[in-house]
């Protein structure tokens, strides 16, 4: 929404992860609260990749972390395999985390610089895996091999002896070693060069097939997100604007914010005519005191009074495309107009 609503959710028996009305707020003193995530709902089917995109500060990373209960969301539900993670106890959650792993943005700082790669990747197994060292190493070696790192060379080496791309591969191996169902990738390629980025994206696609993974892929680069995702959710200031099958979203953006993002994207083709107008610096509104109604209205060209008064809810364009906007750029399906 920049609104709320759950019209876009699918029946729960078809999905692996279902996030409903997720709210994450951080108190900042003086009774003020940062509304980082304000009522996000989405679901992910098994074997699917969902991309979360948006500018910095839109709450996409917070959403990813809240799935893992890091920290626990303020309200809302996170259902993984029909189990609500927000209501299970700490000990149970610890066990459930083996099913959900995370890959972080900065590959170098997410690995302990004082430990050898063999140990880093084996760490989850110390807690959950086979107790015998040999069996552990066998698993670690298999994972390192799967991500394209020679296990025998890497075993006793330290992270600083590897490049950024290789460190990201090691992080991926560590996330995979417990054979999770769901991996949350928080900007995994943002810190990498384009050539290495392509290697990592291809690797994630291969591993997804090989290990039957489901991915939540968080990134700010729309082209990267399109490449890897089956469905894409566009976020703005803690709300969801639009969710769609990815090819359709890029061909027919329905939310003015999605269109703005797509128009801003630098395209490596000089034949494409650039919009070269310069406008005043638009400030992202403060998440402490977000705009009423549709949160995007302060930057939206088609905003009028209704946008300030009423928060738009998710409405259906077709089976796989939903938008939360009073003035969508693509006509809505008639039935849902009637309902709203």
């Amino acid at each position: 929404m920049a609104g709320s609503g759950r019209a876009h959710l699918r029946p729960s028996d078809e999905t692996l992860l279902r996030v409903e009305d997720l709210v994450v707020e951080f108190p900042v003193g003086g009774g003020r609260v940062v509304h980082a995530v304000s009522g996000i709902s989405f679901d992910v089917a098994k074997g699917e990749t969902i991309g979360l995109v948006g500018e910095s500060g839109c709450g996409k990373s917070t959403t990813g972390r809240a799935i893992l209960q890091l920290p626990k969301p303020t309200s809302g539900a996170v259902n993984l395999n029909d189990q609500d993670l927000t209501s299970v106890g700490a000990e149970k959650m610890r066990a459930l985390r083996t099913d959900v792993q995370m890959i972080f943005q900065d590959p170098i700082s997410s690995l302990n610089p004082r430990r050898a790669v063999g140990e880093i990747v084996a760490e989850p197994l110390h807690v959950w895996g086979p107790a015998e060292k040999d069996a552990q190493w066998e698993k670690v070696a298999k994972m390192l091999d799967a991500v394209g790192i020679d296990p025998d060379v890497a075993r006793y080496k330290f992270p600083h002896e590897f490049s950024g791309g290789q460190c990201q591969r090691i992080s991926i191996a560590r996330a995979l070693v417990l054979e999770p169902e769901l991996i949350i990738c928080d900007e995994p390629v943002s810190a990498l060069d384009v050539s290495v980025q392509a290697q990592i994206l291809n690797l994630l696609e291969d591993l997804k097939v090989e290990y039957g993974l489901t991915l939540v892929f968080i990134a700010h680069d729309l082209a990267v997100v399109k490449n890897i995702s089956d469905r894409v959710a566009v976020m703005y200031l803690g709300k969801m604007c639009e969710i769609s099958e990815s090819d359709e979203l890029y061909a027919q953006p329905a939310h003015p914010y999605t269109r703005l993002l797509l128009e801003s994207l630098p395209v490596p083709d000089p034949k494409i005519k650039l919009d070269t107008s310069v406008s005043d610096a638009a400030e992202l509104p403060s998440p402490i005191n977000p705009p009423s109604g549709c949160r995007f209205r302060t930057r939206c060209p088609s905003a009028d009074k209704i946008c300030a008064d009423i928060e738009p809810i998710m409405r259906r364009i077709n089976d796989d495309h939903y938008v939360a906007c009073h003035y969508p750029l693509v006509p809505l399906e008639e039935m849902s107009v009637g309902l709203s």
């Binding site: 500018e55 910095s56 394209g148 790192i149 020679d150 490049s163 791309g165 290789q166 060069d193 384009v194 050539s195 290495v196 980025q197 392509a198 290697q199 994206l201 291809n202 690797l203 696609e205 291969d206 700010h220 680069d221 729309l222 082209a223 990267v224 399109k226 490449n227 890897i228 995702s229 089956d230 990815s246 090819d247 890029y250 703005l260 993002l261 797509l262 128009e263 801003s264 994207l265 630098p266 395209v267 490596p268 083709d269 000089p270 034949k271 494409i272 005519k273 650039l274 919009d275 070269t276 107008s277 310069v278 406008s279 005043d280 610096a281 638009a282 400030e283 992202l284």
Partner: protein, 367 residues
């Protein structure tokens, strides 16, 4: 002093080399770069991290002043030789003749000094204007870069502004003394796409209005497409291909340029399009590979590429130059590719999509 440069050239760079001495040897960060930049034109410098693009910009401006660095070659600016010029003299060129916008707007402003004072500090030093005049000039500059409520923003600290605004301040600062040449070193890498678009537009309009020459350094071919007049692709400290922007995109000849473009995901491709990754990783700049420095990663590399370093030669048009033994699109390239495929050269197999790309190309592989 050599003969003065022809008036329309803002900069003439010839065989510029910047090497850093480290215990292992010399890091050849910039290794023989030559180009001319005309007034009012934009040169885009593109390459991966470690290709020497930032060091190139800093060497031209005389900012690579690490005690272990040596810069040789020649940079002519208005008939003056900048290489070897004493920092004391150079100081008079910084700001008034050449200015730089840096990558990270968060760290390039002093956090404990108000924006206005930082913005006008060098204006007062170079142009000797009074405090009051500097203020009105500063406010005017903030308006030029489209900062709303410029009057009030003059008196805020950097942390009270967003990243995009801070980068606008940095641009205003660079423009303050009306430089002839503006260096923009990855000016938008740290910013969101919407802000990036605005900042690039701002740089372009300012450049046009002031008839400045600009060097736009970036790792993103998308940023320079449609914004630069000419594009130079750097690899291992050297320019490997240089051409007017449209020519470069229409008929690229260097395998590295092609690989770089192909590895970028594009929104025009359907989802799950397999990306053509470049095998291997950038070379060691202390001991660069013999022959062509891209040869260990190049799918077209034949024995000659490992032995002889190709020189920059002109293609069909004089303004399109590239350094390659088997330029893309030539019959030789196709032949080399086919032969390599037959012989099972790892990077060719990767380029053909037969095996998965990693950063470690087997080194024990023998032709």
């Amino acid at each position: 002093m050599t003969a003065p440069a022809v008036a329309e050239h803002a900069l003439v760079v010839e065989d510029l080399r910047t090497h850093f001495t480290v215990p292992a040897g010399d890091v050849k960060a910039v290794d023989g770069v030559s180009f001319t930049l005309d007034r009012g034109k934009t040169l885009g410098v593109v390459g991966e991290s470690g290709s020497g693009k930032t060091v190139l910009a800093r060497s031209i401006m005389g900012l690579s002043i690490a005690s272990n660095s040596t810069t040789t070659g020649s940079v002519l600016y208005e008939g003056k030789e900048l290489v070897g010029m004493a920092p004391k003299e150079m100081k008079h060129l910084w700001g008034t003749d050449m200015a730089m916008v840096f990558q990270d707007p968060m760290t390039s402003l002093n956090p404990v000094v108000k924006v206005g004072r930082q913005l006008t500090e060098h204006v007062r030093a170079h142009l000797g204007v009074s405090k009051g005049d500097a203020r009105s000039l500063g406010v005017e500059l903030l308006r030029t870069v489209h900062i709303p409520e410029a009057e009030e923003r003059f008196d805020v600290y950097p942390h009270e502004m967003s990243g995009g605004m801070r980068q606008r301040v940095c641009i205003a600062m660079a423009l303050a003394c009306g430089p002839e040449v503006l260096f923009a070193d990855e000016p938008t890498t740290a910013l969101d796409v919407t802000v990036q678009h605005q900042i690039l537009n701002l740089l372009n309009t300012q450049q046009r209005d002031r008839n400045m020459a600009m060097i736009l350094v970036t790792h993103d071919l998308g940023v320079v497409a449609g914004r630069a007049d000419e594009i130079a692709v750097m690899y291992a400290g050297k320019i490997v291909e240089k051409a007017p922007a449209t020519t470069l995109f229409n008929e690229m000849h260097h395998p590295y340029t092609q690989a770089l473009l192909w590895s970028i995901p594009k929104t025009s491709q359907p989802k799950h399009t397999r990306l053509s990754a470049i095998a291997g990783r950038p070379p060691d700049l202390v001991n660069p590979p013999s022959g062509c420095s891209f040869s260990p990663r190049c799918p077209y590399a034949r024995p000659i590429c490992h032995q002889e370093e190709p020189v920059l030669t002109a293609g069909v048009g004089d303004d399109h130059i590239y350094a390659c033994h088997h330029p893309v699109g030539s019959p030789g390239a196709q032949e080399a590719f086919d032969k390599n495929l037959e012989e099972g050269l790892p990077q060719t197999l990767i380029a053909a999509g037969r095996i998965r790309a990693t950063e470690d190309i087997p080194t024990d592989w023998k032709r």
